[in-house]
Amino acid sequence: MADPVTPAITTVDLTRQFDTLTAVNRLTLSIEAGSIFGLLGPNGAGKSTTIKMLTTLLPPSSGGAQVAGFDIVREPTRVRRAIGYVPQMVSADGALTGVENMTLSAVLYDLPKRVRAGRITDALAFMDLADAAHRLVRTYSGGMVRRLEIAQALLHQPAVLFLDEPTIGLDPIARHAVWGRLKESRRQFATTILMTTHDMEEADVLCDRLGIMYRGQIAASGSPAELKAHVGAGASLDDVFRAVAGRAIVDEDAGTFQDISRRRRTASRLG
């Protein structure tokens, strides 16, 4: 686990360019260990690109970052060992059972054989999936799939957990169940969580601090209360979002065709 005094994630001038588009533009950020940090922002603001770089899936064009004390460019394997990741898409394998999905993660993360079965049982129970452990995941509800994916990502007890829109497509009850499990895992294991979301209620309920991204940079950051107070008395996070990224609510910034179709596919698969 990361030392609670040092930040779990720091980025310095982190930049990613795709041809002429600068998706993430000199992002400098520090996230305290043990906290839940929410990245908000309109589609195409650079949230997913930021997560891809921090999880070592995408090399930065310039600048750098440390995750759990390791450099994302020079020590990618150490970073991978220290993090868990739940992509926005459905990453659990529907053709396998819950336990089989968990076992694959356990092996890929080198969990010793003697603790594997016990940890998998515990993790499934923690996520309220004990009864469904031996069912094929394609028979799970959307909320169960998400909880399984989070259980997979937490199995090796990572210092930092990355979640890309964890409750997209879930009904309110399933959403609350996921939130409850995330808070509990932070409480028990001091996991640092970096998540993206479009859901202002989720940001308000779950996150200690928020960063609102706009065109590849953090346009505003602070605790939900601070951000709201800054906009005015009685303001909601929606108001904050609009104040910061208001200009983005035009068609050209609402995400590419590919973004939208992927998002809807995920939502329909989980829903």
Binding site: M1, K52, T55, T56, L57, L58, T77, R80, R81, A82, I83, Y85, P87, Q88, M89, V90, S91, D93, A95, L96, E100, T103, L104, S105, V107, L108, Y109, D110, L111, P112, Q152, H156, Q157, P158, A159, R265
Partner: protein, 265 residues
Amino acid sequence: MADGARVPALLRFASHASAIAGVDLRKLWRDPTELATRALQPLLWFLVFGQVFDRTGVIPTGALSYIEFMAPGILAQSVLFAAIFYGIAVIWERDLGIVQKVLVSPASRTSLVVGKALAAGVRGLIQGALVVVIALAMNVRFRTDPAGMAGVAAAVFLGSALFATFSLVIACIVKTRERFMGIGQVLTMPLFFASNAIYPISMMPRWLGMVASVNPLTYLVDALRALLLAHAPAAANLPLDFGVLAMILAALVGLAAKLYPGLAR
């Protein structure tokens, strides 16, 4: 977190690769319909193409009947056709997010690719066994010595792993199912016809013979012809055949491991 650091690297590599392979094979075990439908095509080649050409006698096959001559070719072909579309499954896994998830794990990229190749190899063995059964029914006379059978299994495994890894490389480059289907169709026919699968290289015009001699399928068929048939022509150069297949496979695994992370970008 430090759990993994204590395990020797080679052991980790083997367990990662076999976990990836195990997942693919488990899915195949649960839904083997694809294997059955893929057995149809070789059956048609034997029944239609084989029987017609068996009567013409225009293809010089030495002491063998034409059906016998083509049996190793059809075996190699069925391995090729099944393996070359392996990449589609990987593109599907990419669209789902499964590729992203394994790529953020500390498992080496090479172990992930080797796992896929192992699964394809085993799959090829099952596929191959079906073709052998069909060929037996067509009165093809096989070698029955253990060395021959082990050799056939090794060649089929190697060939299937090779073409599946080739398919994976293509998947990493094109990244979408639509483009992949187009390229898969375009590749299989030249690989098949520019080889010694259904006619000997000696019949080919010079340029096509040169193409065939750099085609890995030719080496697979050459090895299979010697290892499979009871009255095989003694022409096969097994060390060369296996050497070429192993080298190409190694090169493709290296290339695929380099390209695989690109699937998550």
